[in-house]
Every structure is written in C-alpha cells, then in structure tokens.
C-alpha cells in the first residue's frame, strides 16, 4: 500500500507542524519577554548552565547514535541497529533524568515554579513541552528497537524515527540558548 517515501513524507509533515507549535511558544516567550523589561535572570553558570550544557551534549550524542542506527539498518545489520537504538534511548533517558534533577533544583532551591512568576510559566511551559516530546520519542524508539530485534520494520521506518529524534534535538538547540543562555545571572 505505502509507496516508498510515504512514511518519511508523513513524518516531515508532522515535524513541520510540530515545529510551528514550538515556534508559537517561542514567539509567546519573546513577546512576553519584550513586554516585561525586568525579566529575571536566575541561572548561575554553575550548576544550572553546566548542567544544561551536559544535557545538550547528551542529546546531541544521542542524535549521533541515531544516525548510526539508521546507517546500520540501511546496511541491513539489524543487530548493530538495535544496539545503536538502545544507545539512543539511553541518551534520551539520561537527558530526561538530568532535566528532572535540574527542575527539582529550580523548584526546591530557587523556588521557581510554573505558578511563581511569568518566568516560571515560560520556563516550565517550553521545557515541559520539549520533555514530553523526548518522552514520546523514547516510547517510539523502544517500539522500533524491539521490532527491529524481532525482524520487523524496514530501513524507512528507522529513518522516519530518526527524523523525529533529530527534530526533537533541533528544537532543543533553540530552547537552550533562548531559555537558558539568555537568562544567565549577570
């Protein structure tokens, strides 16, 4: 039924529309920030920015392993593909774990919550939506990994999954500078 490329195209369309959802959030963030000149800058270089940088590196690394997974699947090396997929899942999971630690830190020590201030609203709104995407990605990748291990799924399926994962990664590359680096303590 599905001609080659249909799934990839479908995923591209999804990514396009999801990108717009994120763009909306970032536009809101920009508008609110411009309207409130006394925007707080709560992030100390250490630990917050250090943490966030590590998270960024982990996520980037997981994109790399995803590339290898796609590559292995392209060569029909299912075992390798599963391994790289698992590595990717590990990267994503560590990202979430680190992120949650960072959240807890903010909530308990800096007393910033979604309801505490506009900054909190934006911070938790944007990063929360992103984290939800990472979490959904983990489920998606798990399904792929188990499927591939059992001999299901084609190279295109893995490629499609890769597209999603790179997209989640890409969004973070916007979120990180906009939300973190622009709120570093002066």
């Amino acid at each position: 039924m599905n001609p080659a490329g249909a799934k990839t195209l479908g995923m591209w369309l999804f990514v396009l529309s999801d990108l717009l959802t994120f763009a909306t959030l970032l536009v809101i963030y920009t508008a609110l920030r411009l309207a409130n000149p006394d925007w707080p800058k709560p992030f100390a270089l250490s630990p917050s920015i250090v943490y966030a940088t590590i998270m960024t590196i982990v996520l980037l690394a997981s994109s790399l392993t995803m590339v290898w997974a796609v590559d292995a699947m392209g060569k029909n090396d299912r075992k390798r593909a599963v391994q790289w997929l698992l590595a990717t899942i590990l990267g994503g999971a560590s990202f979430i774990a680190l992120h949650l630690t960072e959240w807890r830190h903010l909530i308990q020590i800096d007393k910033i919550t979604p309801a505490s201030s506009l900054f909190g609203s934006v911070f938790f709104g944007v990063t929360g939506l992103h984290m939800a995407h990472v979490a959904a990605g983990l489920i998606y990748l798990t399904v792929l990994a188990t499927g591939v291990a059992r001999g299901k799924f084609s190279a295109e399926d893995i490629e499609t999954g890769g597209l999603y994962w790179h997209f989640v990664d890409l969004v973070w590359m916007f979120v990180f500078p906009l939300v973190y680096l622009m709120a570093v303590k002066p």
């Binding site: 249909a6 369309l13 999801d18 959802t21 909306t24 809101i28 609110l32 979604p114 609203s121």
Partner: protein, 528 residues
C-alpha cells in the same frame, strides 16, 4: 462494516454520520437559543428537566444561554464544517478521484476519526459536570476563560473539558491533514499531474495544508490556556486583577496574545470550512452545465492564494482589541486582498455556467444556492474588513449575519449539493429529486429570512452574545425583528426534516442508480 474500520469509504461515512449527529444537536441548541431570545421569561418544563441547575423551574438563566451558544458555535464550526466536507467527502472520494486504493495511512485515518469522536464526547461531557458547559463563546478569550470558576459558572471543569476537546480535535485534524497531503503527493495515478486533479482534490489539498499549520498553533494556544488554568501559569493573565473581589497574584501575561494565537488559527479555520465546498461546487456546476470548469488553472491558483493569504489576515478579528492601530491598517489591506481570489472564483463559476446547458437537478439547485449565498455573505466582509467601519459592527449581530450566511449556510449548501451528487456513488441509489428540490426551496428561503434581517439588528447596534434584550431602551426597537427571525428559524429547522427523511429513506428505497448517473467525467464514476 466493522466499527474500527480502516477502509476510507467507511471512515468517510463515519465522519459524515458524526457531522450529521452534530448538526442536529447544533440546530436544536440554536432553536432553544432563538426561543429564549424572544421569550426570556418563559418557564419551560422541558428546560427545567434537562438542566435542573441551568434552568431552575424551567426559567433559563443567562449562563445557560451562554453555554448553549458556546457549544452551538463550537459544534458547528469544528464538528460539522471541519469534518463533513473535508474528512467526510474527502476520505470517501479523494482516493477514488486520484486513482488510489485507499488513503496513504489507513490506520492513522481510523485513529483520526476516533480521536474526533472522543473529542466530541469530551465536549458534550461539559454539559454534565458541575457548573455546566463553559460560557465564554467559541473564541474562549482569557481572562474570562483563564481564571477558573471565579469568573462565572461553567468556567470550572466545563471550560477545562472544552479546551481538552479542542486539543484532541487539533491532534485528530493534524493526523488527517498529514494523511491527505501524503495521499495526494504520493498516491496520485501515474498519469495524473497536479494540474490534472479535479478541483475537489485541490480543495481538499489546500485545506489539508492549511490545517497542518493552523491546528498546530491552536494546539499551542490550547496547551498554554490549560496551563494557565491548571498549573497556575500566567501566559494570558496580566497583573493587578481583582476578580469577584479576590485579588489575583499572577502578573505579566497578556490577554491579547491569546487572541493572536486564536485568530491565527481562527481565520484559516473559516477557509478550512469553505474551501472543500468551493471545489465541490466547481465540479457540480461544470457537470450540470455540460461544460468544463471555466478557468481551471485560475481556480486552482485562487484556492492556493486564499489558503496562503488566509494566514496573514487574522488581525481583522481584533481591530478594536487594543492592538496597535497601525497593524489594523495593514490587516485591513490584506483582508480586502484575500477577497480578490474569492471574487475570481465567483466570476469563474458564473463563466462556467455561461453558454452551458443547465440541468436543474437537486444538486445543481444547491450549487446555485451556494453561489448566491456566498455572494450575499461574502460581500459584507468588505464592510467588516475596514477597521473604521468595523468599529461599529464588531460584536454586533451584523457579524453574526455575515458568518452565518457565508460559513453557516454556504458551506452547508455545499454539503447538501455534495450529498445529492455523490449519493448514487455512496449507496447505489438516488436521493429523491422531488423531495430534494422541495427541501432546497424551503431552506433557501428560510436562510435568507433568518439571516438577512439580522444585519439590521447590527445596524441598530445590537450586541451579540446577549441572553436577552430587556435591559436596554434601544433594543426594544429590534424585538419585532428578532421575533420574525425566530419564527423563520423554526421554519428553516422544520425544512431539515424533509432532508432527514429523504436521506435515510433513500438509502433503502431510493431509485436505483446507474454507474455514472450524471454523465460526470471525474475518475470516481469510472471504475467499479
């Protein structure tokens, strides 16, 4: 026919069934509203039984009226006009018209439908929770919709369910949009180029493209509004508020921001409602005048132009919202510009008829009625599109008249035309032509009788979203008008019974139809 079918034809029919259920509910709500507007003090036992809290002793409260209005608008826009013309007809006929066996992703298709159904259930559930359905209109502007129960009954759980329903609807529509676009790009018959597709396919294609972007933004808006309500964030809540004598601690957000998000979606949404109908009308006019569509390429390009320009005119709903007066000027120019491709379409429809041999089938009646109503409803857009003039008309019944004509009934006429036209393909039988024409005449007259007079209420300055008109001296003058409109609405609604009878009776008993009863040239009539 299994319930969780992945067959595009079954899903198409399911969507049409959902739309039919919704439209009946929407009509009933509108009749109750019309009744209340002219008999605000009446005690009706039935209302008391249906809504013990909203209508104690049968006497309807203002909040009940407003919640009926909210659900009426939401149902009609989302569950009728965003489902039947696009997902209903589109699912059924797009694959047939481009020579595909099914949609590109049948399982996703099934999921879209059931998510839509879930979304409808979520919306209706709002009636049954504490406080009832929300009363903030289908536009749900914060802070009214963003602060919870303190802004009014219905603004508690009812409003949460409303937002949740809309979010689900967004997800369902996004899935459907992806499916449509991929199907058109990937599954067209090898000999069919883009500019060989029937205009119906162009209508569905452009609509899917619009949906892909518009619903993504609404989804973001919905999520943020939900966070404002449940997580205590303040995206849309400014500082220094005292609501219901309670000081609010949140600060910094902007209510107008939500309006930008809503209308960035909302304006394209009205085109989502009408573009599939436009495509359909082109096909029907051409078939029954025995001619090709006049200016095929111009028509396809006009659809694209409406879709594209539609994304930069949202500000015309916000001329008096307090946004920068300079942006109003820009939005005004763009708004009138988006009228141009609509006019081009109208001219081409007339030119398609010109020199033809017109066969006045029921479908053709509705198609001609569509053109007439589209002109009547669209032309008032040229008044509303000027911010200087909109100052007076915004939020009056003039706007209500505008959008009911062009959206409400023009798009609905396209559905009727489509049903009469495609019924033989869907059920192997004809809808009864005589009943169809009778239904057409009553509906056509009824529609003008209901919605043209409402313009004049707008001239008097009659605000919309008023549960009654007792409080104001100047509104006494419009009461006769409203009474007339209410009677016309009863008549109009009664006329729909003819359609209902015809629709269900003909499925079993209608005259058997040959393979290509109208002598049409598109692919769906060819094979099988």
């Amino acid at each position: 026919m299994t319930i969780f079918s992945t067959d595009h034809k079954v899903i198409g029919k399911q969507y049409i069934g959902l739309a039919l259920f919704s439209v009946l509910l929407g009509i009933v709500l509108s009749l109750v509203m019309r009744f209340h507007l002219v008999h605000p003090d009446a005690k009706v036992k039935l209302f008391g039984a249906l809504w013990p809290d909203g209508a104690p002793g049968g006497q309807m409260t203002p909040e009940l009226y407003l919640s009926l209005m909210t659900i009426h608008g939401t149902i009609m826009v989302f569950f009728v006009l965003t489902t039947a013309p696009q997902s209903g007809f589109g699912n059924y006929f797009l694959p047939l018209q481009i020579g595909a066996h099914d949609m590109a992703f049948p399982v996703l298709n099934m999921l879209s439908f059931w998510t839509t159904a879930l979304s409808l259930l979520t919306l209706l559930a709002a009636f049954f929770v504490e406080g009832g359905a929300p009363l903030s209109g289908w536009t749900a502007y914060p802070p009214l919709s963003g602060l919870g129960r303190i802004t009014g009954p219905g603004q508690g759980l009812g409003q949460d369910l409303w937002i949740l329903s809309i979010a689900l609807f967004c997800v369902a529509s996004l899935m459907a949009a992806i499916n449509f676009i991929v199907t058109i790009i990937e599954l067209r018959a090898p000999d069919m180029g883009y500019f060989d597709m029937p205009l119906t396919c162009w209508g569905w294609f452009v609509t899917a493209l619009i949906s892909l972007f518009a619903f993504a933004v609404l989804l973001a808006g919905g999520i943020l509004l939900l966070l404002d309500r449940t997580a205590g964030t303040s995206f849309f809540v400014p500082g220094g508020l005292i609501v219901n004598d309670q000081i609010q601690t949140r600060s910094g957000g902007s209510p107008i921001l939500f309006q930008h998000l809503f209308w960035f979606f909302g304006h394209p949404e009205v085109y989502i409602a009408i573009l599939p109908g436009m495509g359909l009308i082109s096909t029907i006019l051409s078939t029954f005048s025995g001619k090709k569509v006049f200016g095929y390429k111009a028509m396809a390009i006009a659809l694209l132009a409406i879709g594209g320009l539609g994304f930069v005119v949202w500000g015309h709903h916000m001329f008096i919202s307090g946004m920068s007066p300079y942006s109003s000027i820009a939005f005004s120019v763009l708004t009138l510009a988006v009228g141009v491709p609509s006019a081009v379409k109208t001219f081409n429809w007339l030119a398609t008829l010109w020199g033809g041999r017109l066969r006045f089938t029921a479908a053709m009646h509705f198609a001609l009625g569509f053109v007439s109503i589209f002109i009547t409803g669209g032309i008032t857009g040229l008044i509303l599109g000027q911010p200087g003039l909109d100052i007076y008309f915004h939020d009056t019944y003039f706007v209500v008249a505008h959008f009911h004509l062009i959206m409400g009934v023009a798009a609905i006429f396209a559905i009727f035309a489509g049903l009469h036209y495609w019924f033989p393909k869907m059920y192997g039988r004809f809808l009864h032509e005589g009943l169809g024409k009778l239904h057409f005449y009553m509906t056509f007259i009824g529609v003008y009788a209901v919605f043209v007079p409402l313009h004049f209420a707008g001239f008097v300055g009659n605000p919309r979203r008023y549960p009654d008109f007792k409080e104001y001296e100047f509104l006494k003058a419009v009461m006769p008008l409203h009474i007339g409109v209410t009677h016309a609405a009863y008549f109009l609604a009664a006329a729909q019974l003819i359609f209902l009878f015809n629709y269900f009776w003909s499925q079993r008993r209608g005259a058997a139809a040959p393979a290509n009863p109208w002598g049409a040239t598109t692919r769906e009539w060819r094979d099988d």
